[in-house]
């Protein structure tokens, strides 16, 4: 692996580091809000990947000049960047906002119901509920809930 290869793919390296950072936070964090933050970093990493692949070396903003009649007169000499990934990511950002706000709304309700936003505590409360159900319903059936 030469240095040129490394530098030439710098956007991919950054994407991988950022993505795995986010993914690690989602998996490891015990706090529900921190999980959402991790999820955001994870998504943003993907946004960065898309945006970086839209770059064309030496490319300018992809807006075609028009004449007075509204006819496009694009100069074939000019190199334009690819706008499509940006548009896609605009959509993905909107999806990300919706996901984040829904997750936070759920966390608010979880906090109201459980009085905690630590995953360990929630699991423990759930396990206790399950044990109680097991005693009520399971023993009657001679099985486990």
């Amino acid at each position: 692996m030469t240095l040129e290869f490394f530098i030439g793919h710098i956007n991919y390296w950054l994407f991988i580091v950022l993505m795995m950072t986010g993914f690690y936070i989602v998996v490891s964090a015990g706090n529900l809000v921190k999980k959402v933050v991790g999820l955001n970093i994870f998504q943003v990493a993907v946004f960065m990947l898309y945006i970086s692949i839209g770059k064309v070396t030496g490319g300018t903003a992809p807006i075609f000049p028009t004449d007075r009649m509204g006819k496009i007169k694009a100069d074939p000499e000019i190199v334009y960047s690819n706008p499509l990934p940006h548009v896609l990511i605009l959509t993905a950002i909107v999806v990300g906002i919706a996901t984040t706000s829904l997750a936070l709304a759920l966390i608010v309700r979880i906090r109201e119901a459980y009085n905690t936003i630590e995953e360990d505590d929630i699991l423990e409360i759930d396990a206790r509920t399950a044990r109680a159900e097991n005693i009520i319903h399971g023993e009657a059936m001679g099985g486990r809930a």
Binding site: I63, G70, L90, V94, A98, S101, L104, A105, V108
Partner: protein
């Protein structure tokens, strides 16, 4: 609840109008320059959210009640979809803006984008403000000594 500092209140009051004006600028310049419904909607929502943060949720909801916000969210989507359905009634594909002016397709494209972006702007404003209302309205009231 104690009121915020005087400077904050005065600056906010003068800023809100400018922000809304800028939102309209971004909205209507969307088809010539960077901008459009998404950005304009967020900027527009910022005006209301800023007002809400400084003067309190109750004050901003006097200007823009929560139920209006919910209807705005739905209205924007309907404006968007309605534009497409209109195109369908004109005998073209869904969202084929050219159908507005069949003799000069690119004019139709311009007006179509304008309607659709208006829908997007309305919805994004609504959604952003609705999110703010939902979270701000749910917080248990903190006294000034709880900070």
């Amino acid at each position: 609840m104690k009121e915020h500092h005087l400077i904050l209140r005065v600056v906010t009051k003068s800023l809100v109008g400018t922000i809304i004006l800028f939102a309209f600028y971004v909205q209507f310049h969307g088809d010539f320059s960077p901008g459009g419904g998404f950005q304009a909607g967020v900027i527009m929502a910022v005006a209301f959210i800023l007002y809400g943060i400084v003067f309190g949720l109750h004050e901003v909801q006097r200007v823009l009640p929560a139920w209006v916000v919910h209807k705005l969210v739905a209205l924007g989507v309907l404006v968007y979809a309605g534009t497409g359905i209109w195109n369908m009634f004109l005998g073209y594909e869904f969202l084929h803006y050219g159908s507005f002016t069949p003799d000069h397709m690119s004019h139709g494209q311009h007006s179509g984008i304008l309607y659709v972006e208006a829908g997007v702007g309305i919805t994004v404003t609504g959604v952003m403000v609705a999110i703010y209302y939902a979270f701000a309205g749910r917080t248990p009231r903190l006294g000034n000594d709880d900070w």
